[in-house]
């Protein structure tokens, strides 16, 4: 047996494995790149300041005019409300699960979070439709959409926060306890700051997920064409829904608006991601920088 040259079989295996990985990478990138390429190419035509600052009020579908302002505003408000409710709630649930949860209740919560994780978004929409609108008699509104979106964001946010909190070394908690710091202060001042970058990233993933949700919004938001800044009453616009409606139209002007709105949505999600990374970097444990 020679020590100097790897056996040809091992060499061949290595080459095959490298080629397979390279191929998989290319295959995985094809849809991503082609989506971005197509959306930028087709969306750039209508994507301008006018598009971002005007609504579709009194714009006929065939007109080469109008914009997505009402839809951007609606989506930001709906997602904002959903996130404002979900972030503190899921933080508390995750802290309970990691730091306090023992026995049946914690198991049950974990189980239902897992179940909710796979909940189809249309079901969340139908649930709010039957409970909030048909059951309690409220009208369609941005807030109704927020309720459905928060159901979808909650499990993602809880699960990712939970994982991040579990990653915090028990040695840090013990170091804090050994200084005579009570458990709650240890959680607030040591555990949470250490896990913060990961938590922020998880929350942003959750927000990005619900931002593009169309099905629940379709049922709940009322698809207004004009600007409605009040999410609590009257129909609102929504970006994914705007994309959907415009792309259903056979007129070129409408289809162009749809692409531009899709581009807007992608840009907003990317900006949020960038923002999250910035926070994560800024708050990261200093040695990791």
């Amino acid at each position: 047996m020679s020590l100097s040259h790897p056996s040809p079989i091992r060499k061949a295996k290595n080459t095959a494995a490298m080629a397979a990985m390279g191929l998989a990478l290319v295959v995985a990138l094809i849809p991503l790149v082609s989506i971005l390429w197509t959306v930028i190419l087709k969306g750039a035509k209508d994507f301008n300041a006018y598009f971002l600052t005007h609504s579709m009020r009194n714009v006929a579908e065939q007109q080469d005019s109008g914009g997505a302002y009402h839809a951007i505003l609606g989506t930001l408000e709906q997602v904002g409300i959903a996130a404002a409710i979900t972030i503190p709630l899921s933080l508390l649930v995750a802290i309970y699960l990691v730091e306090y949860g023992r026995g049946r209740l914690a198991q049950a919560v974990t189980f239902f979070v897992d179940v909710m994780m796979g909940l189809p978004s249309i079901v969340a929409g139908l649930f709010i439709l039957s409970f909030w609108i048909l059951g309690l008699g409220y009208q369609v509104s941005g807030f109704a959409a927020s309720l459905a979106l928060l159901i979808l964001m909650m499990p993602v946010a809880i699960r990712s926060t939970e994982e991040m909190l579990r990653l915090v070394s028990p040695a840090l908690r013990e170091a804090s306890y050994a200084l005579g710091v009570p458990k709650w202060r240890t959680i607030v001042k040591v555990v949470l700051p250490t896990a913060l970058p990961g938590i922020v990233t998880g929350m942003m993933l959750g927000i990005a997920r619900i931002m593009g949700e169309t099905a629940p919004v379709l049922l709940l938001v009322g698809a207004a064409n004009s600007i409605n800044g009040n999410p609590f009453s009257d129909p609102q616009g929504s970006l994914p829904l705007f994309v959907f409606n415009e792309s259903q139209n056979s007129l070129q002007a409408a289809i162009d608006r749809g692409w531009a709105a899709a581009l807007t949505l992608i840009i907003i999600v990317m900006l949020l991601n960038l923002f999250a990374r910035l926070i994560a970097w800024w708050k990261a444990p200093a040695a990791a920088r």
């Binding site: 013990e174 170091a175 200084l179 040591v190 444990p285």
Partner: protein, 258 residues
Amino acid sequence: MAKRIDVSGLSAYYGSVRAIEDISLTVEPRTVTAFIGPSGCGKSTVLRTLNRMHEVIPGTRVEGKVMLDDVDLYGAGIDPVAVRRTIGMVFQRPNPFPTMSIYENVAAGLRLNGVRGKSDTDGIVEQSLRGANLWNEVKDRLNKPGMGLSGGQQQRLCIARAIAVSPDVLLMDEPCSALDPISTLAIEDLIAQLKNEYTIVIVTHNMQQAARVSDRTAFFNIEGTGKPGKLIEIDDTPRIFANPSQRATEDYITGRFG
């Protein structure tokens, strides 16, 4: 300041497993007591019962008495959080808080316990870092992250953090086992200084270290896996190493087993 610890009839459990059985020993104020013994003999568990850190792990429990001067630490109405403020601890691996600077790490015990007052904190931080022989190395970079220090410096930072809350007793759980010989020497010198103010209990696997730093040495042993750890004997360190009264102690320190 420094107080006496009196342990009597102490047993500790992890779930239904008894880790240590019927431990009784006394630690005099302003002395260094070393706990030695083979792995798994329960010496760290004994140490962790002394500041009620044992019960931090779910499903654990303690029987018996630990007296700090005339207060039973396991008595009714004793707050474990207050106990840990009085009895500080340094761990095997240096564990500075990764989100905090050197200054903030030392001030952590004060800040996290809600003590305010900037000028006061500055003084305590400097005093503690001097006490831990770290001041000269870090005084120009107090705002740099604690994780940026070397392992030995990090451990001295942890000692500074522990003494910043001015405890009566300092527990050290193998504080040098993750450090190189030079850092170990620095910590041992520090222990010799700290002895003037604190009661110190140190767990160590290094018998030369026990011989070097301690006034008294306790030897723990187990009969076999699954059996609880027991205190074999505790005596003045020179006696334990020169002329132990128990055969098992002699076997252990001469390297015949363990």
